[in-house]
Amino acid sequence: MKKIEAIIKPFKLEEVKDALSQIGIEGMTVSEVKGFGRQKGHTEIYRGSEYKVDFLPKIKIEIVLPDGRVEGAVAAIVSSAKTGKIGDGKVFVSDVEEIVRIRTEEKGDAAI
């Protein structure tokens, strides 16, 4: 099993969720994060003092999946999250060893 972590622009969340639903992915966990990267933040001037706002709001999506579904999911995320402008974000894939569904105590792929 694999875990996909995707960092995306906040306003793309609905689109990404829909794209994933369409390929049958119905479980995911989402959190609000701040991103720092090539996309530069804005400058706020607060009554004469200038502050650089480096960290930009991003959304992190975590999905755990059977190995076979990873490629499709990554493709769905990339195509739905893309705007072509800097700061679109990243997708990371890593390995997961075990999954348990708390409710049923099922394990492995059955738990997804």
Binding site: Y46, R47, G48, S49, Y51
Partner: protein, 496 residues
């Protein structure tokens, strides 16, 4: 330690004050008023004039009050309209501090310090009330010498529901005392803006006590006390023939200049210039701004101590100047910075209110509009440019708005005061108000500005170093990092 200091100060203040010598009442018993006199008294009520019986030498009594034949004393009654307005105004001025200033300033600090600002506002409200009750009102509004009143009204002794005709013929003196208390509360509360996020609570406590005695009480007596040194309108023997309708010097200059000194002595916030110190809730700041504007009608129009023609003028001038300044400041921002910010609008509102404060009872609508334009531009320039040049950390711009605004307000009052706006100017200031921009009043205003500035700066410097020596001004780095809320008050502003 704190205690002995306080006693010392108290005694010092008192030593300075003369014993009030009330003129002896005439020994002849007063006559019952004739029907004509009774009607004249009623007309006086409507017109905010004096009863026939109000003059101490009067030989007639009045039905609008109580005559005590035994002691041959006449105790006037308050009037329902002015009393209603004064109670409303007092409540409005309290509203400016709680929760007005608490929100305005509380919104501008970081999340971890919001409660410290609120705690300081609340502390000042309680503390100053107690001082006011014990001796503050007396030191300011009882007759004394030109600099300080006496202690004869201490513990509000003899301050009752009948008017003190030195200040108003138709407003209860105890209501007047409570109204003026609200001014005494908001003034030190304004200082908080400059020292936010980095002053120990205990230091704020001690500083406030000392500051009231050293700066506020004398200043308020000099400007508003019936025998005050700078009470140009009502004291014919004032040394400085200056005017200050609702507290340009008493409230804004004292707090603003003291704020600058204190924030310089205190030093900058940790992370100043490096970290993002932006407001944790601009919405709170905006809510506070709305409350300040609304409450300020009590502050300015209430300062007429009557709901008469002068209050009406003050109400109008306040509205116009504030609205104009609230517009000009963000427009300046839009032009020079590219975007009009809500903080800009709010700053404009407060700047307008501050600058019109000393002037509102004395200027025409046209004068108020001129004041509004300048109030939108000059403090803006100070907050956006001058502060940057000098690099002091006036955290929430108490100096930029209140000191600069109060000072220019005092000056503009000198330039724009007109007899047409306030008939009282023709009494003791006939030769000073000539209805021209360079009338002699301007010089008197400059004198008042100078004296106020010296008192505030010198007083605050001394007090700040005393407090620093006694208990220290700043919390530890760790406390400042964690935030004053958790460290000093054991609570957080928000919980999920």
């Amino acid at each position: 330690m704190k205690k002995s200091l306080l006693i010392l100060l108290l005694t010092a203040s008192l030593g300075a004050s003369l014993t009030a010598t009330a003129g002896d009442p005439p020994s002849v018993k007063r006559a019952e008023p004739s029907l004509e006199q009774r009607v004249a008294d009623l007309e006086a009520y409507v017109n905010n004039g004096q009863r026939g019986a109000d003059a101490i030498s009067s030989t007639v009594s009045s039905k609008l009050g109580r005559y005590d034949e035994k002691y041959n004393t006449f105790t006037p009654n308050p009037g329902p309209g002015p009393n209603a307005w004064q109670m409303t105004s007092a409540a409005l001025v309290l509203f400016m501090t709680l929760p007005g200033v608490a929100l305005f300033y509380g919104g501008l600090v970081r999340r971890k310090n919001v409660l410290s600002v609120m705690a300081q506002c609340l502390l000042i409200a309680g503390l100053v009330s107690i001082l006011w009750y014990c001796c503050g009102y007396s030191l300011v509004f009882h007759k004394g010498n030109a600099v300080l009143g006496s202690l004869d009204f201490a513990f509000l002794n003899n301050v009752e529901s009948s008017p003190n005709t030195d200040y108003s013929c138709w407003v209860s003196q105890n209501v007047f005392a409570m109204y003026q208390l609200m001014f005494a509360i908001i003034t030190p509360a304004l200082i908080i803006g400059a020292i936010a996020e980095r002053m120990k609570f205990s230091a704020v406590f001690l500083f406030t006590i000392l500051w009231m005695f050293v700066v506020y009480f004398p200043q308020a007596h000099m400007v508003w006390g019936i025998d005050g040194l700078m009470n140009g309108v009502w004291n014919p023997s004032a040394k400085i023939h200056a005017i200050d309708f609702a507290g340009g010097t008493v409230v804004h200059m004292t707090s603003g200049w003291s704020a600058l000194i204190l924030c310089l002595i205190l030093g900058k916030r940790l992370g100043f210039g490096k970290e993002n110190l932006s407001p944790h809730s601009m919405t709170y700041c905006m809510i506070g701004t709305g409350m300040l504007w609304v409450g300020w009608y009590g502050f300015n129009a209430g300062s007429a101590v009557a709901s008469d023609v002068i209050a009406a003028n003050a109400f109008t001038a306040t509205t116009l100047a504030t609205a104009v300044a609230s517009f000009v400041w963000p427009m300046a921002e839009w032009l020079f910075r590219g975007k009009p910010s809500v903080l800009g609008f709010c700053s404009g509102v407060v700047a307008g209110l501050v600058v019109i404060t000393p002037a509102c009872g004395f200027v025409t609508p046209g004068g108020a509009v001129i004041i509004g334009v300048l109030a939108g531009l000059i403090p803006w320039f100070f907050c956006y440019k001058v502060k940057g040049w000098f690099g002091y950390d006036d955290a929430l711009d108490t100096f930029g708005i209140h000191a600069v605004g109060g000072t220019m307000g005092a000056l503009l009052t000198g330039i724009l005061a007109r007899n047409a706006a306030n008939g009282n100017l023709a009494t003791n200031l006939k030769s000073f108000v000539t209805d021209t921009p360079l009338q002699p009043l301007v010089v008197e205003q400059l004198k008042a500005i100078g004296l106020t500035l010296v008192l505030a700066v010198a007083g605050t410097t001394v007090i700040a170093y005393i407090v620093k020596a006694l208990i220290g001004l700043r919390p530890t780095v760790e406390v400042e990092t964690i935030g004053l809320d958790l460290a000093e008050h054991g609570e957080e502003g928000y919980h999920a």
